[in-house]
Structures are given as structure tokens and as C-alpha cells.
């Protein structure tokens, strides 16, 4: 089955081509069916690959050679796919959740005139993402990386008639480009140092961990991490992600929560052999991750847009993942990617269902009391909230618990800060739940009349995701509760090292965490109810709350210290350097060329005698050169 891996990205590509070429003429339902079937086919093959990789007979990473891509001089890059535990796990996440979201979209986007185009983009996205995780070298990852960036841009600006939306798309693109530059530099550094980009070749050339230090490892790791910062929305490049909520909600669920933004985590997990040699870069990953987790969590506390809350929560959770990577718990980071994909996709899709019911309204000021009108959405959303808040035995609990434990063993200060971020997570999620589903309805009468539960194409994915959010963590339940490290063992086959929790104090720590979580959640739930007084909610804040509601004024800060000075500088440059210097120079060159062309044209007299004369003159000159000047 693993040899058929090329089929996995092929199906979405075919889907994209069909939908992309015929999007103007194709009926909507057909476009939707093609989009869904393409992903389903990929999912089925991914399942087959997953079980093959899982079986005991599977020997190490399998590189499937497709064709020679670039061959020039010593540089030799193949277009190969690498099948191992890590990539097969991501395949399942991408195609599985991707399929559910495609199904969801058939209903959600059903009234949009550009639906077929939407599915074409979505398929292209899945194709690029699969390329990203399947590639056996950094270049293919980079192609996928750019591909998902492009699709993200296209989908954020999908409703391109709204100027704000296209600006958001541009912002996402530019921020990502900054990160991509880092990735590119890192890639070139690898190429210069090791002469290859293939993972296996590069890692084979690295010395065993901690035997040798060189600042080069730190530089490469740092550059790659800058790429990850852009794609996975970490400080300081995170501001695009909340704005990216301009896209259709299923897009937010798939691209800006479940898959694309986790590409950075995938990249670092993939390059763990490199990061093991770069302790400084690894520390930076942890610090940035922790800072992002905290900052985004505080901002999420006072957002009024249902999708913005979820967006900041995504940024915060991504921070947690980087924190896990930064303390060396690679499998834990990947595990959190998986559980987060379940519950964050669920939450976004739930939010989509709410927005759908509210007729496009996204402001939670105008919501409230929706639990009666949208029972399925309410229950599934509740499960999502419990999972992300870390309610015991939900998937989010298991993964976050593991992160905290790993951090605790690494650095106590980090642990307390991370725990605080986790508490904040619970607070803003309960707030969101209450403001949307509890209390009385605050919207207009028309909206209240319009409220209805969404159709099956929307609720069924919700239910499936809710089930996974509940039980998805069981693969990695702590030993304490009779679990086994299935995932760690599985990923261990790909050579991704796990942090082994052992030692005498372990049980004690686990119990403490468990107990603290239970008590903490209860307290938070009650406190939140008081703190945000649902009945008096009006969406206006003052004082410090206002600072948080305005996202710490980071956008304004960037605007003041980066955008405006650059704007001013370019204004000055435009006036002086550009008009006088560059324009003069460029036009001067152009004029010279034209003038020269005009003169040289006159040499072409049409007289054969003259031509031969020039030729002989040239010969004499060349002979003089050849005989007397060259030596």
C-alpha cells in the first residue's frame, strides 16, 4: 500500500484540475461531490498506508521514488515521498479531517455562487498540504509550504469583493513570506553544508546528539524556525491568523486550525535530529511558544467575534505545541497537533453552524441562549470546549497534561506560566460557551426567528469530530490510568524521540496534575460565570480589559514602528532617490540603449562590400588581440 502513496496527493490534484477548469460551467452539487470523493479516496489510501506502517513488518522509513526533479552539477534532487510514522499520521489527520470539512462545506457553501471554485481551492490546498508532509526532502516540503500559503491567500480572500477581506489575505501572504524567507535561507544553509536536501541524507551526515557543537546547527535551526513562526503564527508573526478569519468558516477550520498552521510543528518534528544539536534554537522555540501561548490567551479573553476567540485560542494552542517541541518532547507536540485538530476543527465547525443559524452574524454580543434552538451544535460545541479546556479524559486533557508534565521536568518557571496559560484557555472558552449558548438571546427579532438547527451535512461532521475529541486521547493515556504509549511507540518507529516519563515522583506528579485540573476547572467554571456576568454583557470594555480587547495594540504597534516608518521612508525615497536617481538612471540606460540601437542600425548599410570590410576589420582586430594582447 505504501508504494501507492503517490495516489494520495494525486486524487486531490485531479479534483482540483476538474473543478478548477470547469468551475464556471459545472453544477454546484457535482463540484462538491468531486471535491469530497477526491479527498475520501485519499483518506482510504492513507488509512491503508497507516495500518501498513503500524504493522510490525514495516521496516523503517520508506522512500518512494517518483522522478528526478532537479539535476545540475552536483546538485541532485529527486521528487520522492517519504512514508513513515510521522508522515502517515499527518496523512490521516489531513485527509480525515479534510474529508469531514469538505462534506460540511457542501452544505455551508451551498448558496455561494463560487462554490465549485471554492472546492477547487480546497482540493488544491489538500494536495499542497499532502505534498508538504510527504516530501522526502526540504525542497518538496517547501513547494507544499508555498502551495498551502497560496491556497490560504486565495481562500482568505475568497469573498474578494470585500476590501477588508482582501487586505487580510494580503496580510497573511506578506507575513508568511517573511517566514518563508527564513525557511529558504535555512534550506540554502543545509544545501551548502551538506550538499543535499533529502532528510535521510542530511540527518545521516549529522553527528550523534551532543557529541559536537557548532553554531551552524543553531543557525539552520533558527532559520527554519523563522519559517515555522510565519506559517504557525508565533510571535512576532502571529497577527495574520486572526485576520485570516475573513475566509469562509470551514476554511478557518481546515487551514487555520487543523492542518496548515501545524506545518511548522511538523517541520520541526521532522528536523528533530537537527534541533537536538541546537540547544539554543530549541530554547528559543520553547520561549517563543510559551510567550505566544500566554499572549494569545490573554487577548482571547475579551474578543467579541466568535471566530476571533477561536483564532486566538488556536494561536495559543500552537504556542503550547511549540513549547512541547522546545522542551524536546517532540511526540507530545505532534500528539497535541492531533488532538487539537479534532477539537479545534470541531469548535470552528460549531461556530460555523452558529454563524449559519444567525444568518452571518459573528458578534457574540448579539448571541446568547442558543442551546435550545441548536441542540446538536450546543452539545458538540460543549464537548469541544471541555476538550480544549482539558476536562479529564478528553483528548485535550491527555495531550495538554503530557505537555505540562514534560515542561515541569524541563523548567519549573515555564511550567507555572504554561499552567497559567492553560487556566486562561479554560476561562475564555467557558466565557465563549456561556455568551453564545447560555442566558437569553440578545440579537434582533428577525435573527431569533431565523434560528434553526443546521442540516445533516453540517451536524454529522460535528458529531464525528465530537466523538474523536472525547476519545482521541486514549492512544496516549498515561500509565497511571492503565494506558500505553501507543503513539509514542508508533512515532518512535519514525525515529521521533519521546520524553520518557519515569522515576519515582512520576505518579505523584500525575495525580497532582489530575487533581489540580479537576478542581481548577470547577473553580474556573464558577468564576467565569461570575466574571463575565452573561446577563449584563454588552461587549464594551474599559481599562485593562480594553487593552486586551484591542489585542495589546500589537497591530497598531506594528503599524507605528514598521509600516509607518517604511511608508515615510519610501515617500522620501520616492521623492528624491526614485524620481531623480533611479528614474534618471533607468531612463538614462533606456535612452542610451535606444540611442545605441539607432546608431548601430545605421551600420547595416546593405552593401556587401561594406559588410566584408567590417568583417576584415574585425578579423584584423581579433588577430591582433589573439597574438599580441592576450599574453
Amino acid at each position: 500500500m505504501a508504494n501507492l502513496v503517490y495516489l494520495v496527493p494525486l486524487f486531490p490534484l485531479i479534483g482540483f484540475l476538474i473543478n478548477g477548469i470547469f468551475w464556471k460551467r459545472m453544477p454546484k452539487t457535482l463540484g462538491g461531490v468531486i471535491g469530497c470523493v477526491a479527498i475520501l479516496a485519499s483518506f482510504i489510501i492513507s488509512l491503508g498506508i497507516f495500518f501498513e506502517v503500524k504493522s510490525a513488518s514495516f521496516q523503517g522509513p520508506l522512500v518512494v521514488k517518483l522522478f528526478d526533479f532537479i539535476q545540475s552539477g552536483n546538485l541532485n534532487i529527486h521528487f520522492d515521498f517519504q512514508v513513515d510514522a510521522l508522515s502517515s499520521l499527518f496523512l490521516l489527520i489531513i485527509t480525515g479531517i479534510g474529508f469531514l470539512i469538505h462534506v460540511y462545506s457542501t452544505s455551508y457553501m451551498g448558496h455561494d455562487e463560487g462554490m465549485v471554485k471554492y472546492f477547487a481551492y480546497l482540493n488544491l490546498f489538500v494536495f499542497s498540504m499532502l505534498l508538504l508532509v510527504l516530501g522526502a526532502n526540504y525542497l518538496i516540503m517547501f513547494i507544499g509550504w508555498e502551495g498551502v500559503g497560496l491556497c490560504s491567500y486565495l481562500l482568505i480572500g475568497f469573498w474578494f469583493k470585500n476590501r477588508d477581506y482582501t487586505n487580510a489575505a494580503k496580510k497573511a501572504f506578506v507575513m508568511n513570506r517573511i517566514g518563508d524567507l527564513g525557511f529558504l535561507v535555512g534550506m540554502l544553509l543545509i544545501l551548502f553544508n551538506y550538499g543535499t536536501l533529502a532528510y535521510q541524507d542530511v540527518f545521516a551526515k549529522l553527528p550523534a546528539a551532543h557529541t559536537e557543537t557548532s553554531s551552524m546547527y543553531n543557525w539552520i535551526a533558527l532559520c527554519l524556525f523563522i519559517g515555522a513562526m510565519g506559517k504557525s503564527a508565533q510571535i512576532p508573526l502571529y497577527t495574520w491568523l486572526p485576520d485570516a478569519m475573513a475566509g469562509p468558516t470551514p476554511v478557518s477550520a481546515l487551514i487555520h486550525a487543523a492542518t496548515m498552521v501545524t506545518a511548522g510543528i511538523y517541520m520541526i518534528a521532522r528536523s528533530h535530529a537537527l534541533y537536538d544539536l541546537a540547544p539554543m534554537a530549541l530554547d528559543l522555540v520553547a520561549v517563543i511558544g510559551l510567550a505566544t501561548a500566554l499572549l494569545a490567551a490573554t487577548i482571547a479573553l475579551y474578543q467579541n467575534d466568535i471566530k476571533k476567540v477561536l483564532a486566538y485560542s488556536t494561536v495559543s494552542q500552537l504556542g503550547f505545541m511549540f513549547l512541547a517541541l522546545g522542551v524536546g518532547a517532540y511526540t507530545t507536540g505532534v500528539f497535541h497537533v492531533m488532538t487539537h485538530a479534532f477539537f479545534k476543527a470541531l469548535l470552528f465547525l460549531g461556530a460555523g453552524s452558529v454563524i449559519h443559524a444567525m444568518g452571518g452574524e459573528q458578534d457574540i454580543k448579539n448571541m446568547g441562549g442558543l442551546r435550545k434552538k441548536l441542540p446538536i451544535t450546543y452539545i458538540t460545541f460543549l464537548i469541544g470546549v471541555l476538550a480544549i479546556a482539558g476536562f479529564p479524559f478528553t483528548s485535550g486533557f491527555v495531550s495538554k497534561d503530557e505537555i505540562l508534565l514534560a515542561v515541569y521536568e524541563h523548567n519549573k518557571v515555564f511550567f507555572y506560566l504554561a499552567a497559567f496559560a492553560a487556566v486562561l484557555t479554560a476561562i475564555y472558552m467557558f466565557r465563549l460557551l456561556m455568551l453564545v449558548f447560555m442566558g437569553g438571546f440578545r440579537g434582533t427579532h428577525d435573527q431569533e426567528h431565523h434560528l434553526h438547527e443546521s442540516p445533516a451535512a453540517i451536524t454529522i461532521p460535528l458529531i464525528i469530530l465530537a466523538i474523536f475529541s472525547l476519545v482521541g486521547g486514549f492512544v496516549q493515556i498515561p500509565h497511571l490510568f492503565g494506558g500505553h504509549d501507543y503513539l509514542n511507540q508508533f512515532l518512535g518507529k519514525a525515529g521521533v524521540p519521546a520524553v520518557i516519563h519515569e522515576g519515582p515522583g512520576l505518579e505523584m506528579k500525575e495525580w497532582t496534575l489530575f487533581g489540580a485540573t479537576c478542581v481548577g476547572l470547577l473553580v474556573i467554571f464558577l468564576a467565569t460565570k461570575k466574571l463575565f456576568a452573561v446577563s449584563q454583557f454588552d461587549g464594551n470594555y474599559s481599562g485593562f480589559k480594553k487593552v486586551l480587547a484591542n489585542k495589546w495594540y500589537v497591530d497598531e504597534l506594528y503599524d507605528t514602528i514598521i509600516v509607518k516608518p517604511i511608508g515615510a521612508l519610501s515617500g522620501i525615497l520616492d521623492k528624491f532617490a526614485e524620481k531623480a536617481g533611479i528614474d534618471g538612471l533607468v531612463n538614462g540606460v533606456g535612452k542610451t540603449v535606444r540611442w545605441g540601437g539607432d546608431r548601430m542600425r545605421l551600420l547595416q548599410t546593405g552593401q556587401v562590400g561594406f559588410y566584408i570590410f567590417i568583417m576584415v576589420l574585425g578579423m584584423v582586430a581579433l588577430f591582433t588581440l589573439g597574438f599580441f594582447w592576450i599574453k
Binding site: S72, G597, L625
Partner: protein, 460 residues
């Protein structure tokens, strides 16, 4: 070897076909069939020769290296493409259609000799067989004075350059006492180079520069390319020029490689002059056909890089450049012959009238300008890479890149005319579905070359 025999016999067959068949269409059909057969023969030649052991033929007069056969195959493929695209237009030039095709077969015979020669005499014969049919083709539009003028000019100057070539061969023989190009290497020492040999090398270099239209021996090119019937210009500027380049590279790579310190600077100056003259003069042209003539000089400047870099990448470079440049140029000429007015203004508004034609022209121009994802980019990349690997002449590489930037200006003028200017272009002959199909195939080839150049290099 089979290909040389086949193309000669096919040429004779075409000559006699003209005597007994009067229908131009069936003659063109026969020619197309024979070209396809010739492609088959070259592939047969290719597959029956092993990669590492060149076959020596006719007392070592010829040597069929694997890359030579690969070049033959690709160029025959280009000729087939040419006939498929322009077979209809060839019929319109004059009365003697079968003779035109026969001459093209003879040109291919010269091409095969030039790609495989192992002896200076064979090289000379190859060049003559390649050139003489061109003089006739240039003058084939008898009622057009410009065509006759082009023919006579080409002949006179060609004869002059032939004299120079012979002079060079003679001097080389005096220095090395052999015509065999592989033996010649051991007989000439690089430390104290015989002045006879240096003079011979320079004479031969100048004669070849004439054939490939490098400055300052380029003066014939614009007049001849402009005056000749457009269909034949297309062939002369592409396949024939590539053949001359291949022969140029072969001699300088095989024989004069170890002496490169003595001649590389002279050739570098020729290259710089060619790039300058070709690109700068092209800027001011009003006729697209004449612009393409200058552009062919400019492209020759780039191909000279392969000769400058005497290394393995140069072979790949010349082959990829030859095919990328030939395919794109043949494509443009195929569009050009459909138009009545060859000036830039003649292209105004083509995008509205014939969107497909405008689109493929854009792709071809992209390729000539060297925009990534087209064959032209890969071609330029490979030839420049060859020189960069040599580690010298960096100034020339930078100069070439600047000149490539200038070339974008005059290529894009055509695109601007097609897409952004209003007008109704006059079409001289209707664009049929078959034409469109072939143009799309050509366009696909250009892009394929840009994406997977390895496909065309696997045998080098």
C-alpha cells in the same frame, strides 16, 4: 550512419517526386512522411549505439558519439515539427515545392556530418552541404527582389567565409600534420604554441563565427533573414544555426580544449560583441521579422557560452539551448507567416482576433526572453552554468544577464501589441484546427523543456 544515407536518398526521392507529381499537397504529404521516417532512422541509429563506445566510421572520418546521435535525433525532431507547422506555407513560396524539401533533406545531411565529423575535411564538407542549399532557399522567391538580393549576399559572404575556413584548416594542418581532430590534440603542445596553429584556430573561429552569425561577422544575418522567404528563415535561423554551433563546440571541445588559454579571451570578446550588437540593435527594429533576425544574433551570443566553457555541462547546454531556441523560434515564425504585416503594428489586437495564436506567441516569446518555467530559461541557465563552473569570465556572465534584461524589452513589445493595443490584424491564410493543434503541441514542448529539461538530456 544510416541517417546520412537515408537523408541523401530521401532528398533524391524528393527531387524526382517533383518531376512526376504535380500536386503540391501530395508532395508536402510525402515530405512529411519522409521526415517522420528519417526521425525513425535517427532513433534507430541512436538505439543501436552503446553509450560509452563511439563507433568509428569510414577510416575514422566520422565518429558517432552518443551525444552526436542524440543531437541528430532532436534536430530531426525539430525539422519534423517545422514541416508539420509550416508544410502548408512552403507550398506557397514558389513552383518547385519538392525541390525545397529536397534541399532541406540535404541540409540535414550536412547537419549529420557536422555532428559526427572526426576529420577537418568532413567538417568542411559538412559545412558546405549545410550552406549551399541555404543559398538556394534564400533566393527561392524568385519574383521578389529582396529574396534574390538575400541569396546573392549570403552566397558572396558565405564564399568569403569558406575561404577563411579553408585557410584555417590549411594552417592547422601545417601545425599538426593531420586532419584528424582527435589525433591533433597530442600533436600540438600548449606551452609553446605554434603560431601557425594559433592562426589556424583563429581563422576557424572566425569562419564559424560567420556561420553562427556572431559579431563582427554577423552583418549578413539581418539582410538574409529579412529577405528570405519567412518559412525558410525559420529553418535557417534554428536547425541550421544549431548545427553550426554543435560543430563549433565539437571542434573546440575535442581538439582545442587544452589550448583554451590562448583563444578563450578572443572568443569572449566575440561573445560580448555579439550580445551587445544583437540586443541593442534589436531594440530599434520596426519589423518583427527583422527583430527576430537580430534576436537570433543575440541568442547566438548565449550559445557561444557553451563553446567558451570547455566542459561537460557545455554539451548539455548546447543541446538544451538548441532545442529550446529552435522550438520557440519555429513556433513564432509559424505564427508570423499567418500574418500579412510583419511590423509590430501588424500584431495589434491579435489577442482579440486569434486568442490562441496570441497566447502561444506569448509563451514562445517568454521562452526566448528566458522567463522561468519555459525552455529558454533552462537553456540560458545551463549555458551560463557551464561558464560559471569554469570559474572565469564572470564579467561576461553578468554582462549577458544585463543583455538578457534588454531583450525582454523588444520581446515584450510584441506581447504589448497583441494584448494592449487595438487593431485588426490581417491574417494571410486561415488558421485551421490542425495549425492550432500543432501550435499547442509546440507550446507544450516549450513548457515541458522548462519544467523537465532532464527529459532532453538523459542521453548526454
Amino acid at each position: 550512419m544510416k541517417a546520412i544515407i537515408a537523408t541523401t536518398v530521401f532528398g533524391v526521392i524528393m527531387m524526382f517526386a517533383g518531376l512526376w507529381v504535380n500536386d503540391k499537397k501530395s508532395i508536402a504529404g510525402l515530405a512529411t512522411f519522409l521526415f517522420a521516417a528519417l526521425l525513425g532512422v535517427t532513433i534507430w541509429d541512436l538505439t543501436t549505439t552503446s553509450v560509452n563506445s563511439p563507433k568509428s566510421l569510414f577510416n575514422d572520418m566520422l565518429r558517432s558519439e552518443h551525444y552526436s546521435l542524440w543531437f541528430n535525433t532532436i534536430m530531426t525532431g525539430c525539422s519534423l515539427l517545422y514541416v508539420l507547422l509550416m508544410g502548408k506555407e512552403v507550398q506557397k513560396v514558389g513552383k518547385y515545392v519538392s525541390e525545397y524539401f529536397a534541399l532541406i533533406f540535404f541540409i540535414l545531411c550536412g547537419l549529420y556530418l557536422l555532428s559526427m565529423y572526426n576529420n577537418l575535411l568532413m567538417m568542411f564538407i559538412g559545412i558546405e552541404i549545410l550552406s549551399i542549399p541555404q543559398y538556394i532557399l534564400a533566393g527561392s522567391d524568385k519574383r521578389n527582389l529582396k529574396s534574390s538580393e538575400a541569396s546573392l549576399k549570403y552566397f558572396l559572404m558565405g564564399a568569403f567565409s569558406t575561404g577563411i575556413l579553408l585557410m584555417g584548416i590549411t594552417l592547422l594542418y601545417g601545425a599538426a600534420r593531420t586532419f584528424n581532430i582527435t589525433e591533433m590534440v597530442t600533436l600540438m603542445h600548449s606551452d609553446a604554441l605554434n603560431p601557425l596553429a594559433l592562426a589556424g584556430i583563429l581563422f576557424i573561429m572566425i569562419a564559424f563565427s560567420f556561420k553562427v552569425s556572431a559579431a563582427p561577422m554577423h552583418m549578413w544575418t539581418p539582410d538574409v533573414y529579412d529577405g528570405s522567404p519567412t518559412v525558410f528563415t525559420a529553418f535557417m535561423a534554428t536547425v541550421v544555426k544549431s548545427a553550426a554551433f554543435f560543430a563549433f563546440l565539437r571542434l573546440f571541445q575535442v581538439s582545442f580544449n587544452s589550448l583554451s588559454e590562448h583563444w578563450v579571451m578572443v572568443l569572449a570578446i566575440i561573445t560580448a560583441a555579439t550580445l551587445l550588437v544583437g540586443n541593442v540593435t534589436a531594440v530599434f527594429q520596426q519589423s518583427v521579422k527583422r527583430m527576430l533576425a537580430y534576436s537570433s544574433i543575440a541568442q547566438a551570443g548565449f550559445m557561444l557560452f557553451a563553446v567558451l566553457a570547455v566542459n561537460a555541462v557545455a554539451w548539455q547546454g548546447i543541446i538544451i539551448y538548441a532545442v529550446a531556441y529552435s522550438v520557440a523560434t519555429i513556433g513564432i515564425f509559424a505564427v508570423l507567416v499567418k500574418l500579412k504585416d510583419y511590423t509590430y503594428d501588424g500584431f495589434n489586437g491579435l489577442a482579440q482576433r486569434e486568442p490562441l495564436l496570441a497566447f502561444v506567441t506569448t509563451i514562445f516569446l517568454f521562452s526566448l526572453a528566458g522567463i522561468p518555467l519555459t525552455g529558454g530559461f533552462m537553456a540560458k541557465y545551463y549555458v551560463l552554468l557551464a561558464v560559471v563552473q569554469q570559474g572565469q569570465l564572470m564579467w561576461l556572465v553578468i554582462f549577458a544577464l544585463l543583455m538578457a534584461a534588454i531583450s525582454v524589452y523588444y520581446y515584450f513589445r510584441v506581447i504589448i501589441a497583441m494584448y494592449f493595443k487595438a487593431g485588426t490584424p490581417e491574417i494571410s491564410s486561415p488558421v485551421t484546427g490542425g495549425d492550432k493543434f500543432m501550435l499547442v503541441v509546440t507550446c507544450a514542448l516549450v513548457i515541458l523543456l522548462g519544467v523537465l529539461p532532464q527529459l532532453f538530456l538523459t542521453k548526454v
